[in-house]
């Protein structure tokens, strides 16, 4: 039960972070990506804050044998680069550049009721459904990627 409440709170804090950081404002995201125009470097700091916090936090976390409520850590194990990874990321980036939305900020913005936001979310779900329908799935978990820092004794797959 406590674990379930914490998952909800993680989503909530994640959303507040996205909102405070500027990620839920598509104009800010587009002005970050368009670095030759009226560049807004704010998203460098979002990424730095998120990555640095996660870098330290995951190392401390993986010094434990198991998670608090969820049992063994479920970490990605693949280390190789493949065309699907790079192709998928390239396609994702084009969509991100068009609308300035990635999945998290779009879902957080749903409550604005803005028709563009709702159209984006529905189209995103359709895009994900296409992926499922084509049976391209090879892992049901988000990647996150295996890390060379993961030692075999620090966690269990």
């Amino acid at each position: 039960m406590m674990g379930k409440i914490i998952v909800f709170l993680c989503g909530l804090v994640f959303a507040i972070g996205l909102g405070i950081s500027g990620m839920t404002q598509p104009d800010k995201v587009v002005n970050f990506l368009d670095f030759v125009g009226n560049w807004d470097p704010s998203l460098v700091l979002v990424m730095f804050g998120g990555v640095a916090t996660y870098f330290v936090g995951q190392r401390l976390t993986l010094s434990r044998k198991t998670s608090v409520f969820g049992g063994n850590f479920q970490l990605p194990t693949r280390m190789d680069l493949d065309a699907r990874l790079i192709g998928g990321a390239a396609i994702f980036g084009i969509g991100w550049g068009i609308a300035g939305f990635c999945p998290g900020p779009a879902l957080v913005s749903a409550v604005s009721g803005n028709s563009a936001v709702l159209t984006f979310i529905m189209s995103m779900a359709v895009g994900m459904y296409f992926f499922e329908a084509l049976h391209l799935r090879h892992s049901h978990e988000p990647d996150g990627g295996a890390s060379p820092l993961d030692s075999p004794e620090s966690h269990h797959h």
């Binding site: 916090t53 895009g127 996150g144």
Partner: protein, 143 residues
């Protein structure tokens, strides 16, 4: 650079990182939003509730933002409905094909120094930048 918000963006980034660490520490999960949301499209027993709760948390956070910081949810770019639909399709399909998005690869993966995530993030930042630059400078920022 008049729109630069370094403090808010750094604080927001740290909150994102803390939420992602908490997902790992308490529930042993990678906080990848496209994977969590996309996983709701092929539900499996025992693997659905946590996804629903995380997405509910995102929406609850959106409600708090709407109440206390409504400017954070303003959609201020000029895009036709067709452009938005194409963007959504590409983001949804691409994130699933590439096994992650800005959260799973960009925060968790890079935070773990994972080569796959560093390559994915470098790729989507590059194609995203090229797309934004072409839209702004070839099409006048209005497609």
């Amino acid at each position: 650079m008049e729109n630069f918000t370094p403090v808010a963006s750094l604080v927001g980034g740290i909150l994102i990182g803390l939420a992602a660490v908490a997902m790992l520490l308490f529930n042993a999960k990678i906080a990848g939003i496209s994977g969590i949301f996309g996983g709701l499209l092929h539900t499996k027993r025992g693997d659905t509730l946590w996804r629903v709760l995380f997405v509910a948390g995102l929406i609850a956070g959106g409600i708090l933002l709407r109440l206390f910081y409504p400017e954070s949810l303003e959609f201020k770019i000029e895009r036709s409905t067709i452009s938005i639909m194409v963007a959504g399709l590409l983001v949804g399909f691409g994130a699933r094909l590439g096994n992650g998005c800005t959260s799973g690869h960009g925060v968790c993966g890079i935070g773990r120094l994972a080569p796959r995530s560093i390559a994915a993030a470098g790729t989507f930042m590059t194609t995203g930048a090229v797309t934004a630059i072409v839209i702004n400078h070839v099409f006048g920022g209005n497609i």
